[in-house]
Symmetry: C2
Subunit: 352 residues, 2 copies
């Protein structure tokens, strides 16, 4: 049996649960490598993946006998088959943060068990990355770095944000990415003031800030990188904000390592923002893995201790509505004594 | 007040509900045009949109006084503000098909009301398109048609599936699309046998089938088009399947109009598939609108009456595992007496 499913079975035993129903595709991918639609069911006796005719062939081609996962076609299962997966009165875990209220009720009816909340058990486990997961994230970061280096050599005045975003995407895919980690952001001039800007037909011109927020996927794992470049020249005001943001990122990096309390660090950063009258509406970062936003949360609300081998994006930014914004972001791995940048492209002023 | 919110308030009154909490972003977009993150709350007294600091500015810029929607910053609301939105003992609708079990419990705690399931009320209403929604879908279909016509003139032997998919995407965006309706499918040779193929580095070559499944968004509304083209020549076997699929699509089109029962039509088509020993694992179509897959479902399981001004994609296909597949798909508007194709590009054999 693969080590992650084995881990899960141990967890369930500790929690006195008789099994678990897993439907969040990201968690299924995490546990089994299966990316096809379906439901993963862990019982005391066996591990089952229920899918349909479209996917049987490709799921079976991915699994080996050592996975100990039996694949079923949902069309071949009837009411009684479902009722017999578990024993009546079994306590079965489910993903209360993924399953809709409607499906919760359907599960009760289908499986005839007691459904027990698992409190984000799988999402919490995903925080700590295995060696091979880290390798995928590193590769995604490497492709992202290269795509940034490529684009800053190829931007010309008059290109639109959309065109620039395309060139980045094309470069990423050509260089081995499975796809994008999210819709790429290329925001120029006043558009940069919106943290979630969508590329427009605005052409870049001299004097512009261009904000990039880009990332790709490699074997399912994400990268996240934000950089700002300047067209032709840097206004002194831009420089000032750039230095502030870069400095805040450095301050976070210096504090982050295994055992650090995210709350304390972020609280201090928020104080400095407030002293300058900058908004703290936008988060300072997030975990990165199979999802572009996953645990841990980088917020000052609750205590949250960083753990070795977790991966996070740290992205302080300053946004001045209607004028401009500057965000600097890298993807980091948390080490025993440090916070190691997996994205490595330059943070010097880039003027093109 | 906008007519959709007015409609919803009437519905809630008919159902003896005192309000509704709406969190599905597609439903919020449908009702209000707001695409920013947040929660829309309808009470007897007022309509509220709760968002955060990142979005206040852009939401307010979209709304007019006639919308009668009050925008709040969630950071400025405390526990008691939330409890006072409704009156205790109010019966409040929620989206049980969207809200997770975890959030269901949070809502109970936050709003202190009785939460009542609304049985997909909003999704069912979205089936019937307004005139201006139809205009957006038509425009999305027009861009998609053009992108197909463009790509068949520009494919050359040796281009990879990924490269071809890029060119289509680029053309769509250049020609006014907001973005893609879904990850485009370009699947050549044996890859075409997978209905959900992802573009690969396989280069197209003489004798290949190339399966396209492409669509874009215009002002949030989707289009969906599938075509097959042949590189260099058509194998007789391909021709036979192509004709069968095209004929099945025609048979569906001939039956579909206001008042037709989807179940009956699809059942007949499934019989013909079974007579030829073709799999019916893949659905024959789906509703299209703000989402690429929405109601109605095109399946033979339950009675389902087609309604005027709904929009559906009809996509029969035949998939021969490990060898090839052929799917033909168009986006249609259901009229009183007909099924009108909104995508219009050729369905003759295309050899390139």
């Amino acid at each position: 049996m693969n080590i992650k499913v084995k881990w899960l079975k141990n967890q369930l035993a500790n929690l006195k649960l008789d099994g678990m129903i897993i439907t969040n595709p990201v968690n299924i991918m995490y546990l089994t490598g299966i990316s096809e639609e379906g439901t993963l069911i862990i019982t005391k006796r066996e591990n089952i993946f229920i899918t349909d005719g479209r996917y049987i062939e490709s799921v079976n081609s991915k699994l080996t006998i050592e996975d100990e996962i039996v694949v079923y076609n949902s069309k071949e299962l009837d009411k009684y088959d479902y009722e017999n997966i578990f024993t009546m009165d079994d306590n079965v875990g489910f993903e209360e943060n993924y399953v809709t209220y409607e499906n919760y009720k359907k599960y009760l009816h289908t499986y005839r068990v007691n459904l027990i909340e698992t409190e984000g058990m799988l999402e919490n486990q995903r925080v700590i990355k295995e060696e091979e997961e880290l390798e995928c994230i590193k590769k995604a970061c490497e492709i992202t770095d290269k795509s940034f280096e490529y684009i800053i050599k190829n931007i010309e005045e008059g290109m639109t944000e959309k065109e620039i975003a395309f060139e980045i995407q094309k470069f990423m895919i050509k260089n081995g990415a499975d796809g994008l980690a999210f819709d790429l952001i290329v925001a120029s001039g006043e558009n940069s003031s919106k943290p979630h800007a969508v590329p427009t037909d605005r052409a870049v011109r001299s004097g512009d800030i261009i904000q990039f927020d880009i990332g790709c996927k490699y074997k399912g794992f994400c990268s996240d990188l934000s950089r700002v470049v300047f067209m032709g020249r840097i206004e002194p005001e831009y420089k000032e904000i750039y230095d502030f943001v870069l400095n805040e990122q450095k301050r976070i990096i210096n504090e982050f390592k295994d055992g650090a309390n995210i709350r304390t660090v972020i609280k201090n950063i928020e104080e400095e923002y407030k002293a300058k009258n900058f908004s703290v509406a936008h988060a300072f970062g997030h975990g990165v893995g199979l999802e572009i936003h996953e645990l841990p949360r980088l917020q000052a609300k609750t205590d949250n201790i960083l753990k070795e081998n977790s991966v996070i994006a740290i992205e302080p930014g300053v946004y001045i509505p209607g004028r401009f914004g500057i965000r600097i972001e890298d993807t980091f791995k948390i080490n025993k004594m440090s916070c190691e940048s997996l994205t490595k492209c330059t943070k010097n002023y880039v003027i093109i």
